[in-house]
């Protein structure tokens, strides 16, 4: 697995997100209220809404377009909705953020 540095944990507000353009598409990186970090595709399985713009609560995000709730841990839609987004490995070391990009990204780098 190849880890790519993408900045600091403190670049993302608590209960917030930022997005990053990668060769695999736009990825949303989330920081929860208890400082856990998750990365998923910035693309709601419903109508493609930018999940990075949603409200973060617990380990979930509510899509800003039609209020689907997506689990940051599994990428799965919660409640009665069905759908799933890709989750991307992400880690924090000494306050720095890393994500593991896919093959295309590795080739590009």
């Amino acid at each position: 697995m190849h880890w790519t540095a993408i900045g600091q944990l403190c670049d993302i507000p608590q209960r917030g997100a930022r997005c990053i353009d990668t060769p695999d598409g736009k990825v949303a990186v989330f920081r929860t209220g208890d400082d856990r970090v998750f990365a998923i595709d910035d693309h709601c399985p419903h109508r493609g809404g930018p999940l990075s713009q949603g409200i973060v609560h617990g380990a979930s995000v509510t899509c800003p377009l039609h209020s689907w709730v997506i689990s940051l841990e599994s990428g799965k839609a919660q409640g009665a909705d069905e759908g799933c987004v890709r989750t991307i490995p992400v880690k924090v070391e000494d306050g720095r953020l890393y994500i593991a990009l896919g093959r295309r990204a590795e080739q590009a780098a």
Partner: protein
Amino acid sequence: MTEKLVIIGNGMAPGRMLEHLFEATPGRYEVTIFNAEPRVNYDRIMLSPVLSGEKDYEQIIIHGDGWYIKNGITLYKGHRVTTIDRAAKTVTSEHGFTAPYDKLVIATGSVPFILPVPGNSLPGVLSYRDLDDVNAMLLAAQSRAKAIVIGGGLLGLEAAAGLKSRDMDVTVLHLMPTLMERQLDAPAGYMLQRELEGRGIKVVTKAHTKAIVGERKVEGVELADGRIIPASLVVMAAGIRPNAWLAKAAGLDVNRGILVDTGMHTSDPDIYALGECAEVGGYVYGLVAPLYEMARVAAAHLSGDDTAIFVHNDTPTKLKVTGVDLFSLGDFADGEDRQEIVLRDAAAGIYKRLVLKDNRIIGTVLYGETADGAWFNDLKKKQVDISEMRDTLIFGQAYQGGAPLDPMAAVAALPDDAEICGCNGVCKSKIVGTIKEKGLTSLDDVRAHTKASASCGSCTGLVEQLMALTLGDAYSPAAVQPICACADLGHDDVRRLIKAKGLKTIHAVMQELEWKTSCGCAKCRPALNYYLVCEWPGEYADDYQSRFINERAHANIQKDGTYSVVPRMWGGVTSAKELRAIADVVDKFAIPAVKVTGGQRIDMLGIKKADLPAVWADLGKAGFVSGHAYAKGLRTVKTCVGTDWCRFGTQDSTGLGIRIEKFMWGSWTPAKVKMAVSGCPRNCAEATCKDVGVICVDSGYEIHFAGAAGLDIKGTEVLGLVKTEDETLEVIVALVQMYREQARYLERIYKWAKRIGIAEIRRQVLDDGERRRAFYDRFVFSQQFAQVDPWSERVSGVHKHEFRPLTAAGLPQAAE
């Protein structure tokens, strides 16, 4: 033949006595009441919630005027009795009115103890006994000035908390080293002091008041150590004295109070005394439970049952300050022959102490968690030997014998004669029996029939659990829709408690109101953020992460994740310069679509988020500010051209629209607010389907509100006609402020108005000038903090992270 019963005093004790009497011997007496206060019987225990704003007077009335009429009672309001003529068997009021009696009941209550110090009669010195005192305090609180409460007992602390919640700067002066020393031991008194100080109430213990200082009115209090504490209001809550002078003047036996036997007879067999003015067995009482017991006994004797006797019982004490849970009972002084069990959890703010003698509970102090108070009270009353459960006793009833009981099981396990309602002395079997016998299904019914939880209300939870146990599935508690799945409370309760408990962060709300999730959800967080912004302007730091993306990015998100931007055009008026600036921005950023909106504005659609700050910078240079087309706030004021151009125009509708918009922009509201001003009844600005609209007419301005033209279509209601632009602005601002303070999040004005009632809104913002002015002032205060252009703030760099993506080291940026 009916007998004449005269009652002097119209407080809670004689009110209760009459209820018993009418039940036992209906029609036996013709009743006349003299009330020194100009009103009916109300619940004095609930004066503190009235002071703090959690209830109003109408909600605490026990017997309305109808009750007196129905029972044939002659009630003289505002009549103070000055003489009792025992030989002639008559009483005479200060207005010279005389009434004959066969039986007389004296229930003159108590008078506050006023410290005998210089200055104690200056204007601004109040006591805390009745509704007039509360009204005077509320008036004084409007100045938001400094207040001093003398006396750190039950009454004084409730007064202090109430004044604090009315935004006064409050200091409590207490003679003793710890607060409420008659009810609490030193550790609990200390915890209480810390809690109150945490709420911003200053507490000075060991404070000897030397004088009230001031020339013509109160200016402060001087202590024996020379300190002078400034204040414009001083509340004396240093204790009460039985009001016995009338009985004394009539030659009845009087000690501290009017002496009565265990049947409530005074030294004259035709005269009874009860309530705070009576002394029985060496005790005088101030808490409601023994007073109600006196009422029961007196009623029994008046109806011919001579067997009823009054027996002294310790009464548990509770402090009615929202958010402070304390319970105290019996004797808790240290002693050679006594042992104690103590549980402390400083972090959780819990302190419990049981005082034991011969393996029996004789005293209890609970602070922070008081659910087991009823159980300890029961054990004490029955003198239960607790040696078997001594190891686990302090943990409460749920921990006796194996696994913890859930609260329902704990209530089920209470014995039939366990006291549920301390104020009214109602036991479990009485509640359960009445529910079954009368087929009661609502809490209000149970209160009406048993009086349980009808006084201070602190046992409401227990009563509801008993209802659930008795009725099973047939019981559905008051159907208040919770704010979301994270909480049990509805919007109105949450708003009320934010105010009453002084909660100033989302975290504090979730902690105090027992949210079930760690950080809420996308439904409750924006609502809480709004409630806090509205309640604490200037104090609460807006939590952007709890705002919907549109309010975070100050633009409207579109289906493809791009944004649309609407600059403000005051009243819908623009100019060549503004239009050129918009055209330049559209060209520079290759904005794909430009459209005129329904609110007379120009919308630029399809802007990439990262471009927003640069777009705003260019628009800002041309003088544009944010149009708030994205906000739950004031959107647009649409206008027609009015007297400037129109041959039919009656007033300057454009000018008024611009004036309203400039005054109100930036304010956050529960849902969006759209307005319009039309210059004549032809109504070209379509003001009659807006949240707030104005129709100009020759004689002035007709103010409309509660219209809708979206999911629902609804014409506006007319609020009223005013004569000048200034009045129009004041009424509209007051209306919007009332809506801001009272509506539920996302509730548009027309829905709120339907719930509250058009007449009530008209009463508060049109008819009641004082209230209108207060709404207006609060809006103006809040605008100081709200009228900040978010676009120029973002251009200057605030919240930069919101608009820039992260970048990966060593990665080429993906092409969009």
